[in-house]
Amino acid sequence: MEGSLVRVNLLLAGVGGQGLITMGKIIAEACSLSNTRVLVAETHGLAQRGGAVNVHVRIGDVMAPLIPLGEANYLVALEAMEALRNINYCNKETNIVLNREVVRPVVPKVKMLSIKDVSDTLAGYRTFTVDASKMAHEAGNPRAANVVMIGFLYGLGAFRDLVDRGSFLKAVRSETNVRAFEAGEGIAMASRLTASL
């Protein structure tokens, strides 16, 4: 929390089947390649099937597997509405990264929220919206929205000096994933630039 301890808490949220576990795996692999301590707490079993899922990623001087309420440094929602479901892990300093995508829950007569509804509810939070699914398509792997988001986090500086770029490029493995990572990284750099102007 303070002093010499360095901790990064990333909460990954979305819908079962969107690649959240893989996203956690890639980050864990990259941390390991950079000799950084990491814990990734996953949700398995029934919740995988179209249900709401979150994955807790804790990096640095960490021992406990779960992020405390109000202490996520980053919340990444591969499905935008899922950011709202996990809002209690955020504080006003948390960077909330939304994929520009809503997925209809498999529930009869469900009332959906739009991206705009989600953004409006998050007014007052530090929010970024990324076309991760679209960018993944363009990078040649429609399933790589998770990797676009990792690139975006990296571009924002989420991993501080704990994980180096080379570790990520190695951990994402495929060529299309490297492109997806770079695409995400690129727009994060651009948004940092805009923010500092």
Partner: protein
């Protein structure tokens, strides 16, 4: 020894720990959060016999039998699986073993994927079996090895108790190399292993002697860290939470890191208590350590200020917030509550997959029951993906309590009301513990319609194989004496509805059980077994009236409403299974594209 660092799941760390210990026989029944243990042993173990047993009792007995003849053996299961295995777990503590026997119990505090959050450390107290409890993947790896060593030295079973936040946490782990599997050799000792009263009485004395040895042998698995007049005893997963919470709150305390919650290390605890004025105990779920600790303190006349379950609570998993608040009260430090926001978000429960045969089965069943005049019947369900039948739009499950319970509960409901009811059970659950209940239904003449949802696998835990691949359920039902047995394809809606109607009427008329087997493969499994691009369903917008039946009453995840309420099929989500085609009353859905190689075989083989 040469170790390697790999990023693994806690369960893989347990599996590789077992391999490092020389396990030679490993058996399990799948169940979250335990499943990946056996999967990993099967994947990485060379010369190790592994099997998915038909239930946890058989899995445990497989390991127990192997350990009787000197092998190093392990059985792994979720916490409620130990209930099923408990009869033989109890016996194993009486007889002890020649080799080593480790039972892995994967508990699920907060019930992420289970019907309860029972604390299986109680089994240790009840059956006099030492319980070893890790707190992260690395400790799980090492403590698995230590559990085998403990069992080997004691000649007694040992329980390794993990939980969701150990088993399903991924982290870099330093992994020991596998050892040569230690097999058994045929040996006999009936005076020990046949628990006839005379033998059992002798075994009981031996069991108590081993338990005394266990009490002293567990001492070395626990340690004291740091110093202070406050002693925090942290059991299992409590340890990392305590470490971080103390750091966060800048507090100093002596920590007793407990890896054996049963039995607790008496000597070490007394040593730690010598310099303590205040004792705070952090353990998840029930006061298992607390009861033993208080008993020791009473016996030794130790009087200290004590904080435990009264302040920490016993419900749900531990969190850092909860541990901080607890330690805040112990140290009289203010820990502010994090304000909680209420934000309206649409519910998102788990759902049956696109192409799931259960969806069609439930819709067909509902129609069949209604047309047979049994639309209000009690539907006794069971444990599997199909438990989702409780959710709307199906609303087709009135109970679902534990593995194999559907038939027994249906029996009770009928005996108490005289109303014909329905039992819905999956194929893997049928072989797990439904068989004996079906025999009972025949033997005691239960008028029940049994629906076996045979998707050819143990789907919920990740499509492990099920005995249904080898054993024909309809044949089993006939040979048990069920007179009405029919097999349907749930996608063949009109025939399925007809058979469900007929079966329900037959039960009412004949006052005997009928069995309908709804046979079609799990969609995830089927898609793994086809080569090439599957076909896709399309909506003809000129025919679609926007009636909403397909997305609100059938609820395939691939079908979504457009702005004008007409249906749209998401081509990325659709697998072209065709289940929705007969659902549309306006014939507006058609399938386009050719069936890839192996398509029919994958679904119906």
């Amino acid at each position: 020894m040469k170790t390697s660092i790999k990023v693994v799941l806690g369960n893989e760390a347990i599996a590789t720990g077992a391999l490092a210990a020389g396990v030679s026989v490993a058996a399990a029944y799948p169940g979250t959060p335990s499943t990946e243990i056996l999967e990993s042993i099967a994947k990485y173990g060379k010369g190790v016999y592994t099997e998915w047993s038909s239930n946890e009792k058989v899995a445990f007995e497989t390991a127990y039998g192997a350990a009787m003849v000197g092998a190093r053996a392990m059985a792994s299961m979720k916490h409620v699986g130990v209930n099923v295995a408990s009869d033989s777990v109890s016996s194993s503590s009486y007889t002890g073993v020649e080799g080593s026997l480790v039972l892995v119990s994967a508990d699920d505090p907060s019930m992420w994927s289970s019907q309860n959050e029972q604390d299986n450390r109680y089994f240790g107290l009840q059956y006099l079996i030492p319980v070893v409890e890790p707190y992260d993947p690395q400790s799980a790896h090492l403590l698995t090895l230590r559990s085998f060593q403990l069992s080997d030295s004691l000649k007694h079973p040992v329980m390794l108790r993990t939980n969701t936040r150990v088993s399903h946490v991924r982290a870099p782990v330093e992994i020991l190399p596998p050892a040569e599997p230690v097999k058994g050799k045929l040996m006999k000792d009936p005076h020990r292993y046949v628990l006839a009263p005379e033998n059992a009485r002798r075994d009981r004395k031996e069991q108590l002697k081993r338990w005394e040895r266990a009490k002293s042998m567990v001492e070395e698995l626990n340690e004291i860290e740091g110093e202070g007049r406050t002693l925090v005893i942290a059991s299992g997963i409590g340890y990392p939470y305590v470490k971080e919470a103390l750091e966060d709150l800048h507090l100093r305390a002596a920590i007793l890191k407990l890896s054996t919650p049963v039995p607790i290390p008496r000597r070490l605890i007394l040593k730690a208590l010598e310099s303590a004025d205040v004792v705070a105990l952090v353990e998840e779920l029930d006061p298992v350590v607390e009861m033993q600790l208080k008993s020791i303190m009473f016996e030794e006349d130790v009087r200290v200020k004590f904080f435990g379950k009264d302040l920490l609570g016993r419900e749900g998993e531990l969190t850092l917030d909860r541990t901080r608040r607890f330690l805040g009260k112990v140290f009289n430090v203010d820990v502010p509550e994090v304000p909680s926001l209420e934000v309206a978000v649409p519910p998102r429960p788990p759902a049956m997959c696109s192409g799931c045969p259960h969806r069609s089965s439930f819709i067909d069943l509902k129609k069949g029951l209604t047309s047979a005049g049994l639309g209000k019947s009690f539907i006794s369900g069971d444990i599997g993906c199909y438990t989702l039948g409780v959710l709307p739009p199906f609303d087709s499950m009135d109970s679902g309590t534990d593995m194999g319970s559907s038939l027994g509960l249906a029996n009770g409901v009928y005996r108490a009301t005289g109303e014909v009811d329905v039992a819905v059970i999956g194929d893997s659950t049928f072989f797990h513990s439904g068989l004996s209940a079906l025999a009972n239904a025949v033997y005691n003449n239960l008028p029940v319609m049994v629906v076996v949802l045979d998707n050819r696998s143990t789907a919920m835990t990740g499509q492990q194989p099920s005995p249904s691949k080898e054993i024909d359920i309809a044949g089993v039902a006939r040979s048990l004496g069920v007179e009405y047995v029919k097999v349907i394809d749930p996608f063949d809606t009109s025939n399925s509805v007809k058979v469900f109607t007929e079966a329900a009427k037959w039960v009412k008329t004949n006052n005997k059980p009928a069995v309908v087997v709804a046979k079609r493969a799990c969609a995830l499994d089927a898609m793994d077994n086809v080569e090439g691009k599957p076909p896709v369903a399309l909506v003809e917008l000129t025919k679609c009236t926007g009636c909403s039946i397909c997305y609100d009453f059938f609820t395939c995840p691939a079908i979504i409403p457009r702005e004008d309420k007409k249906a749209l099929i998401d081509p990325d989500e659709c697998i072209g299974c065709g289940a929705c085609v007969p659902v549309c009353p306006f014939k507006a859905i058609r399938i386009e594209g050719d069936e890839p190689m192996g398509w029919r075989e994958a679904w119906l083989g």
